[in-house]
Symmetry: C2
Subunit: 415 residues, 2 copies
């Protein structure tokens, strides 16, 4: 991204990033496609139809959510990522498994995760969550699920069938990546890259012979331009084969958390519980950290990034993921209402997810989530509502009322 970005230093709900109009205009004009109508210099730039979708996405990020579900640009953005010509592909550093940074015309970028195993393969029960493969379809499904839950905290992700030869090997300038390409005994073009886990000849990523399913996640504004803060989750797992985390030993653990900033104020605690609900539904055990945009301070939404280890097992649930809800017995009113809606026969979560996922370009090959995974969503949703009910029998003030103007006292009439 070669734009000059300046930050609007304010705490009111404004744009995360705003672009210097002169620079933006010049750069976009140089790209030969966009025309910016003249407007007074210095005024906060607005999103225009002529802006590329990724730019409109960045300009639309607010203090409260990553995107507005009704924003027509979202469909434009996923269409852009799914269809635009791939200009470059390099390895993305950070994290433990192979991922690529892809570039598109007009400076758009996306994070690519490749398909590494059969789409319906269940995670080996003898592997720890941190050893599990990342799944491209989990990244896609997590975006859809998060949106259906009304969170809008996962960057848009779309599936795409790429050609590993013409769209990676032949255009990459990343020598460390390109020298890991080879033709497999089965005649497929494969590569493995360089990374901490599973980047070896024994774990190749392979086309058939060139075609490879991948997920493409829209990139957030560059870290240098919109810095983020990383927070260690209070309910982080111990990441040890033998040691227990504090929350596993202390049933009253949440009492401590509730008194600790930033969880002692505002929505941070119920935001964390939202995240636990999302993770429990998709059985993601790997949420050791979460991020926020620094600019928005502590009063802002949590980014639900990096969902590749979700949807690994449908045959069992992982109750410990729900621990924040169970130990704190707090939940946003809007979240609870949404969950209840999604448990009704008319709008069952599995049905809504199936319908949503069918819009992804990869759904043509095979459903992005198999039926057992969709059923697991309904089963887990029931378990969450059950946990809320158990809380209601034991505590007062379970509901964090984030819906003003709603009639009736929710705490008194939970059902």
């Amino acid at each position: 991204m070669e734009f000059y970005l300046k930050f609007v230093i304010t705490h009111s709900p404004v744009q995360l990033v705003s672009y210097d109009r002169a620079e933006l205009k010049q750069t976009l004009l140089m790209s030969g496609i966009y025309h910016l109508p003249s407007s007074p210099e210095g005024r906060a730039p607005v999103r225009r139809k002529t802006h590329p979708p990724w730019l409109r996405f960045h300009l639309g990020i607010s203090r409260w959510e990553l995107y507005n579900r009704k924003d027509p640009n979202m469909a434009g953005l996923t269409h852009y990522l799914a269809t635009q010509r791939i200009l470059s592909a390099v390895q993305k550093t950070g994290g433990t498994q192979l991922k690529l940074l892809m570039s598109f015309p007009n400076y758009g970028q996306a994070l690519l995760k490749p398909m590494k195993q059969a789409r319906d393969a269940e995670t080996d029960g003898n592997l720890f969550y941190f050893s599990d493969f990342e799944r491209h379809n989990a990244e896609i499904a997590a975006f859809h699920l998060d949106r259906l839950l009304g969170f809008n905290r996962v960057p848009p992700v779309v599936g795409r069938l790429i050609n590993v030869t013409s769209e990676v090997r032949e255009i990459t300038t990343d020598h460390k990546l390109s020298r890991t390409f080879f033709t497999s005994p089965a005649g497929n073009v494969c590569f493995y890259g360089q990374c901490e886990y599973y980047c070896s000849l024994e774990h190749p990523v392979c086309g058939q012979p060139h075609a490879l399913e991948v997920s493409l996640a829209a990139m957030l504004p560059d870290l240098t331009l919109a810095p983020r803060r990383s927070w260690r989750s209070p309910w982080r797992r111990s990441y040890s084969r033998t040691k227990l985390a504090q929350w596993e030993k202390d049933p009253a653990y949440c009492d401590t958390v509730k008194q600790t900033p930033p969880y002692n104020h505002g929505t941070r605690l119920v935001d964390l519980i939202d995240m636990a609900i999302l993770d429990f539904l998709m059985s993601n055990m790997d949420r050791h950290h979460y991020e926020t945009f620094e600019k928005f301070g502590n009063e802002t939404f949590l980014l639900h990034l990096d969902n590749g280890r979700a949807f690994g097992r449908h045959s069992r649930d992982e109750p410990t993921i729900l621990t924040p809800l169970k130990q704190c017995c707090r939940i946003r009113r809007s979240t609870l209402l949404r969950l209840r809606l999604l448990s009704l026969p008319a709008g069952r979560l599995s049905d809504v997810m199936r319908e949503s996922l069918v819009q992804d370009p990869l759904a043509g090959a095979a459903p992005l989530l198999s039926e057992p995974h969709l059923s697991a969503l309904d089963r887990r949703l029931a378990a969450i509502l059950q946990a809320v009910q158990t809380c209601q029998h034991q505590h007062r003030e379970i509901i964090y009322n984030d819906l003003e103007g709603y009639d009736g006292d929710f705490n008194q009439q939970p059902d």
Copy 2:
């Protein structure tokens, strides 16, 4: 092994190792089980019924074969390995994948290879042969197949269901091994050891929760006592993703080999072709080296060791494994006769193998080779006979007559 072994330096077909009677007697008496009848000192020891089976196996090794198929001790040896108490378990160094050295009462030892994947899992077509997992059932099936072909060049192997907790973890003195034990999320006892490939938390060997299928191969006499010579196979693969080996580029490659010692004399060339036939039948591409017992010089059989990468794929054959036969157009008469017998409906290879494998203790759980693997044997056997026929149309003197007293000229009346 604490015995003192002395070598009978001779080139006549005698025992590979002979034991000093006094030492042997003392050691075995100390073990409290065996009694050796007195016999004149200095005379070459004979195998006695009172000797433990592994000792009788060692004493029975000849210049021409590793064991005699009709020797009743073979059943005793496999029974011994399959049932005797396991006294110790340590990692065996050398090679690239995890294997253990197991010890039994009376100084018997065996090489353990664990089950690492579902028994009927086919090798991923995108993996190179040298990245393939070793399979415990391949070790067992290779022993049976080699014996059925009349080679008797694979050390006896038997399957066993062991308890990884009581028979490995609790008795091992190998700290490098024991500290890799852990209980998996599924509640199974697992370990991964230390080795070059696949020894990591991402590739655990797991009991269910303690029971693990393994193969146990009888150990050969210790290298210090019966040294072996390792020979690089002339048809060795290049072990590179890109380079071709010389034999892949030169159709007349065998002409060179035939003029090169030791292939220019005796049975070495047809021994190599026997090995290629065995490897083609079980689709083992990993025969880069082979070994012989140094004591027997160049006029001796080839050991068919290390068959864990065989039987990886049943759905296709690997024609290049047969290259030595195709390029040299030579075959032992005894081998050809045996192959023809095994191609007849009355004694079909797949049927004989199924019958042989059912005797293994692990056959109770599931057949050691699935039906597709057994069918592949028949298909590959037909391909070998076809290759011989093609040779017979193009060359004279295809048959190496190792059967004296056989009537009729085989070369003239091939069918």
